[in-house]
Amino acid sequence: MGLFQKLAFFLGIRRKEVNVLVIGLNNSGKSTIINHFKDEEEKVAEIVPTVGFNVEKFQNQNLSFTAFDMSGHGRYRDLWEHYYKDCHGIIFVIDSSDRLRLVVVKDELDLLLQHPDICNRKIPILFFGNKMDCKDALSSVKIAAGLGLDKIMDKPWHISASNALTGDGLQEGVEWLTQQIRETIVTRN
């Protein structure tokens, strides 16, 4: 441990590290969203379907995020639960142009909320209604209604429409999440 880091540690200004889980159906834009937050030199030009998961790191407002970018493919969705236990926040990405699979999204969301590792915790969930630029995209209000988000009482949640290609709406959403996580950490301490 370097001298500077030691000093920073004692003064309590060391950056906090938090884990967030990025989930959602396949082709909803999870990896693209994470790619947007990365430093300029680490960005990948071409995003391929994730097999399994990827670990990425990025920073926001002095909070250091470790994002577990899970694969949304049907056969890997069962594996999300392995990572529920020790995450501080969840980013749930929805393809707002894919009306057909909104019911599948609802199923997956219900499974998530009923999971023993999640249901008793006050864990912030950030929803991204991604691909808002698409012509027939649903608005965030409609998505919230469709998924029945208003029934979630015990967890802070927030939905923001986004466009991962341009980055619209992403910053706003993550700022909310940062705020929430900061609060939970403060209250816990």
Partner: protein, 879 residues
């Protein structure tokens, strides 16, 4: 650094292995640390080390445990610590076969293998390939291709070696990487070149032409890597073995040129290849031997070992060539490395003269206790070869062997000594009594059950025919008192043999068997009661059938038949005659087995499955064909008869399956024309008189290079003499021209065509199954009462020696020689050959053939059989 010093000090204090007392459950508990938010790299590395240690010690993890650890481990991907990450790759590889859902790390590994950190890349490739299955391989194919041609040699090697591993599960995908592998062969790095050659060879190994081209191209290229050259030498040697041409081919020139390579490894490999080629002449051998000779004097022990080991192997096939090195080998006898010394001595034993045997044996005796079991086995094998070569030396050798038997040693070592003694006994009648005495002494204190059982069996077989059978009884009965149930049961069987063969001992044996009936073990009691009852009958026939002759049927078949019998649920009693007889190993197979053991230090592969008789194999295949099911049990299958030359348009082989009343001919056809698709392939037979064709089963489709099978079912003629005959055969089929690449026919219409085959002969031997009669004489006498006897005298003018005559008679009649009468003692002019067998339908045959040598050979043939026609057939067939 300080911690390292402390560790070292602890080690010196006698702390020993720091992982000695770790427990699986504790380590798995500790592994929860992986789930922490902030990863402590040092601690996690330590825990991972413990997990790997446990796995490598053979600790078994259950699927749930492994999966839990695996997913905890995947969280370590967030760490940037290089050491920890590399441990994670190792962990993934270890757990990949046990844990579920391991594909979860695919993307993470793909990212690492294409990333910037070189330290991750090679390890990530290896881990990735261990978790990938055939279906997922497509997804990473692009990355693998890139990695193979990567500039970094470690990455390239990792990709190549991983591809090689994956050829097992997805060879067709790997085949597409041939261009990349080709490029990697040109690499500057010696390891990459070697690995690339390995992959290339594996991709092409099924295509002989491609391999030949590959070798031809690479031999001209002069590879940089000595490892690759070694491999090339091996491939070239393999090609040479398969090719039928002489040794003047460019391949041999290449191997020979490698004898002058600058790397010692290559020189050795080339010499090793040359001396192991099957058809080397002594002139070609000379340079290779001289290279090995040079190595014998090398200061490097590895080279000396390699050289002397190779010489040892060659000594059997080319003793004269090795004799040239005798002087160098003599020097190596006193080598400080015991392994080298042992090999040197055993080589000398193989090449040396009778006079030097005593001296060399003394030399071995000085250090035999210092060498490991493996080398002791080598010594024992050398002694066996020696005993066969110089029968007069048996007393020296036997004493030496018995001394070795008394020493400490593992099962393999003891078994090889016992084997050697048994071979000596069988080969040399003079040595029998002493050999048996040594073995008796050995079983007094033998910890290996299997060995004790074998020796007891041998005593039972050989003991009663010695001058003084009673002396062995004590040794055998001692086993009944002192040993475990398996040995006790074997001892009971051995005693029964004495009772059956030595009437004066019968009373005593009965007393002993009566005592055995109070044994605590079921099997021992059963056997004792069984033998005791049979011996009470005092009936020679019963003795022969139930004590002296073992069960002749094949055990796997018996199992199958009994299973079927239980399933059918019939009232009829089980008929043991319906079980096919066990195939006896032919002389050739025995020789192959012997040759195998003559070599040395062969790594013993996995234990071979119980050999199943050929009949059993075919029987299973044939029983799947409905038309053949009602024919009853398969009696005998002949060897494969080729009806075409091996390199013609269509290759056809025939196997004759003999049933009780029917003959099934199985024609295995291969179409070697890649632009033709054959349909409705059948064989038109022109059977000899009396045969009736009952059924024909054509092969519906015969694509290029695949084996198809057509059957013809014939009924045997009523008159037995007519069963021997010659059939004309024509292959008939419909040809459709097709595209050589896809194998799809161009048109739907084909045309009829035919192809002449060689004539097929049905001989007497096809209808006779060999039976091994241990006590032929007794069976013969007994047959005198109720069998039909026929006798005739022939003159066999075409044969010059007794050996030749014996060989031909055995082959012609298809009977099993009994009491080792197939070996003609040297220098005799008369010989009696005893044969036994079973004719289809269950007729027993015993044949005595008295041969006399005088201007050609005169033979008096006496046949005893349960059936007149069979006996007549045999006597008439010989004429």
């Amino acid at each position: 650094m300080s911690s390292f010093k402390r560790d070292k000090k602890e080690e010196e204090d006698g702390g020993g292995n720091p992982f000695q007392n770790i427990e699986k459950t504790t380590v798995l508990q500790e592994a929860r640390l992986f789930n922490e938010n902030i990863i402590n790299a040092k601690k996690c590395t330590h825990i991972l080390t413990k997990i790997l240690y446990l796995l490598n010690q053979g600790e078994q993890l259950g699927a749930t445990e492994a999966t839990e650890v695996f997913f905890a481990m995947t969280k370590l991907f967030q760490s940037k610590d290089v050491i920890l990450r590399r441990m994670v790759y190792l962990g993934i590889k270890e757990l990949s076969s046990i844990a579920d859902d391991v594909i979860i790390v695919t993307s993470s590994l793909t990212k690492d293998m294409t990333g910037k950190e070189d330290l991750y890349r090679a390890a990530a490739i290896r881990a990735l390939c261990s978790i990938t299955d055939a279906t997922m391989l497509q997804a990473i194919e692009r990355y693998m291709k890139q990695a193979i041609v990567d500039k970094n040699p470690a990455v390239s090697s990792a990709a190549l070696v991983s591809s090689l591993h994956m050829t097992k599960m997805a060879s067709d995908v790997i085949k597409r990487w041939v261009n990349e592998a080709q490029e990697a062969v040109n690499s500057e790095n010696i390891m990459v070149q070697f690995h690339a050659l390995g992959v290339l060879y594996h991709i092409r190994k099924s295509d002989r032409l491609a391999v030949t081209k590959l070798v031809a191209r690479l031999t001209r290229m002069s590879l940089k890597s000595p490892y690759a050259v070694c491999m090339l030498v091996r491939i070239a040697a393999k090609l040479l073995e398969e090719e039928e041409t002489g040794n003047d081919s460019p391949l041999f020139e290449f191997i020979e040129s490698c004898l002058r390579h600058k790397s010692e490894m290559v020189i050795y490999e080339a010499a090793h290849a040359i001396v192991n080629l099957r058809r080397t002449t002594s002139r070609e051998l000379a340079p290779a031997i001289s290279v090995l000779q040079l190595f014998c004097g090398s200061p490097k022990p590895t080279l000396r070992f390699a050289a002397v080991r190779t010489l040892n192997q060659v000594a059997i096939n080319h003793p004269t060539a090795v004799t040239a090195c005798n002087l160098d080998l003599e020097n190596l006898i006193t080598d400080s490395n015991r392994s080298i010394a042992t090999l040197a001595i055993t080589t000398l034993l193989k090449t040396g003269a009778e006079s030097s045997v005593d001296r060399l044996m003394k030399q071995i005796a000085t250090f035999v206790s210092e060498i490991s079991d493996e080398f002791k086995v080598v010594v024992v094998q050398a002694i066996r070869a020696l005993a066969l070569k110089f029968p007069r030396k048996h007393s020296v050798l036997m004493n030496f062997l018995s001394a070795m038997l008394r020493d400490e040693g593992g099962l393999e070592y003891k078994a090889s000594i016992a084997d050697t003694i048994i071979t000596i006994i069988e080969d040399n009648a003079e040595a029998k009594e002493t050999g048996l005495a040594h073995l008796c002494e050995f079983i007094e204190d033998c910890e290996h059950t299997s060995l004790a059982v074998r020796i007891l069996h041998l005593l039972g077989k050989e003991g009663p025919r010695t001058k003084q059978p009673s002396r062995y009884i004590r040794f055998i009965y001692n086993r009944v008192i002192l040993e475990n149930p398996t040995v006790r049961a074997a001892a009971v069987s051995a005693m029964a043999q004495f009772g059956a063969l030595c009437p004066d001992l019968l009373e005593n044996i009965q007393v002993l068997l009566a005592r055995c009936q109070m044994d605590s073990d079921d099997e021992v009691r059963d056997r004792a009661a069984y033998y005791s009852n049979i011996l009470k009958q005092q009936d020679k026939t019963l003795y022969n059938n139930y004590i002296l002759d073992p069960l002749q049927i094949s055990i796997p078949s018996l199992e199958r038949c009994l299973r079927e019998y239980i399933l059918t649920n019939t009232e009829e009693p089980f008929d043991i005659k319906s079980v096919p007889l066990a195939a006896l190993p032919t002389e050739e197979e025995k020789q192959i087995n012997n040759q195998k053991s003559d070599g040395m230090l062969i790594t013993t592969g996995p234990v071979k499955p119980i050999p199943v008789s050929r009949e059993e194999n075919y029987s299973e295949k044939l029983s799947t064909i409905p038309a053949l099911q009602q024919l009853g049990p398969l009696f005998k299958s002949s060897d494969i008869v080729e009806l075409t030359e091996s390199e013609t348009e269509y290759v056809v082989c025939c196997i004759k399956h003999c049933y009780t009343r029917h003959l099934v001919l199985q024609f295995d056809c291969v179409n070697t024309l890649n632009d033709q698709l054959l349909e409705n392939v059948r064989v038109q037979l022109d059977p000899s008189e009396g045969y009736k064709i009952v059924n024909e089963i054509p092969c519906p489709k015969l694509p290029y290079n695949e084996m198809g099978t057509a059957y013809v079912v014939l009924q045997f003629p009523e008159d037995l003499p007519n069963t021997v005959g010659t059939f004309g055969a024509v292959l008939k089929f419909v040809v459709k021209d097709c595209d050589p690449n896809t194998g799809l026919p161009d048109t739907d219409e084909g045309y009829d065509d035919e192809y002449m085959l060689e004539d097929l002969e049905v001989v007497l031997g096809d209808q006779i199954q060999r039976v091994n009669k241990v006590n032929w004489g007794a069976a013969w006498e007994e047959a005198g009462n109720n069998f039909v006897e026929m006798e005739d005298t022939y003159s066999l003018s075409s044969m010059g020696t007794l050996e030749e005559a014996v060989k031909n008679i055995i082959q012609f009649l298809g009977l099993q020689p009994a009491e080792r009468t197939d070996k003609v003692p040297e220098g005799k002019t008369t010989h009696t050959l005893l044969l036994a067998g079973l004719f289809r339908g269950g007729f027993e045959i015993l044949v005595r053939s008295k041969l006399a040598l005088a201007d050609g050979i005169t033979m008096q043939l006496t046949v005893r059989s349960t059936d007149t026609d069979v006996a007549e057939l045999i006597t008439s067939a010989v004429g």
